[in-house]
Symmetry: C2
Subunit: 115 residues, 2 copies
């Protein structure tokens, strides 16, 4: 057993949350499953709630994250827009670096016997 560092991180615009790990996971699940409904289900969330989150994310970021194609040969489906995908990739890159850095910093400062 040892002391552990715990942390949360999220992205805001004008004091309001745009993206967090939870929101990023929802967007990625929509893209993977091609469906807001099924992605919501995966997180035990109502369609209405998932839709509300997407709306907030898009309103605050100022661009669309999800596009929904209605009908066509392949049927309808929801997926990430190009700007949405790019932003999410940046978020993931930031989070990966963040996790590695935080742990390193913590070990640096708190290493050795305490107190």
């Amino acid at each position: 057993m040892a002391f552990q560092v715990k942390h949360k991180v999220w992205i805001e615009w004008d004091g309001k949350i745009v993206l967090s790990d939870g929101r990023a996971a929802l967007l990625e699940a929509i893209d993977e499953l091609g469906s807001i409904q099924q992605a919501a289900k995966r997180f035990g969330m109502s369609y209405r709630h998932a839709w509300g989150l997407i709306h907030k994310i898009e309103a605050r970021a100022g661009f669309k994250f999800i596009q929904t194609n209605v009908g066509g040969k392949e049927g309808g489906g929801s997926q990430l827009t190009d700007p949405g995908r790019k932003f999410l990739q940046k978020y993931r890159e930031f989070r990966r670096k963040w996790d590695a850095t935080v742990e390193e910093l913590f070990q640096q400062v708190f290493q050795g016997p305490t107190p």
Copy 2:
């Protein structure tokens, strides 16, 4: 206006919070004011609540953070123990480095026009 990164960080032992910014500030205020009562007041907290927090911090960390001297020529007074002061210094060092690093990481990844 630009995207901003927000974050929280705290130290746990065995899945329970030992130290956070709020708790660190309380301990430092006790040391500064020489009084749990007055430090609690500064944060709009009851003495009982402050005492409960100190008890939790000490029980989880496994050592005393605050020592209280009763009576004597100078009257009673509460202050940080040596191990408490050392741990708090490490926490502050970690937090300072953390703040600088997080902002740098975020700028690295999210710099330039978005998306």
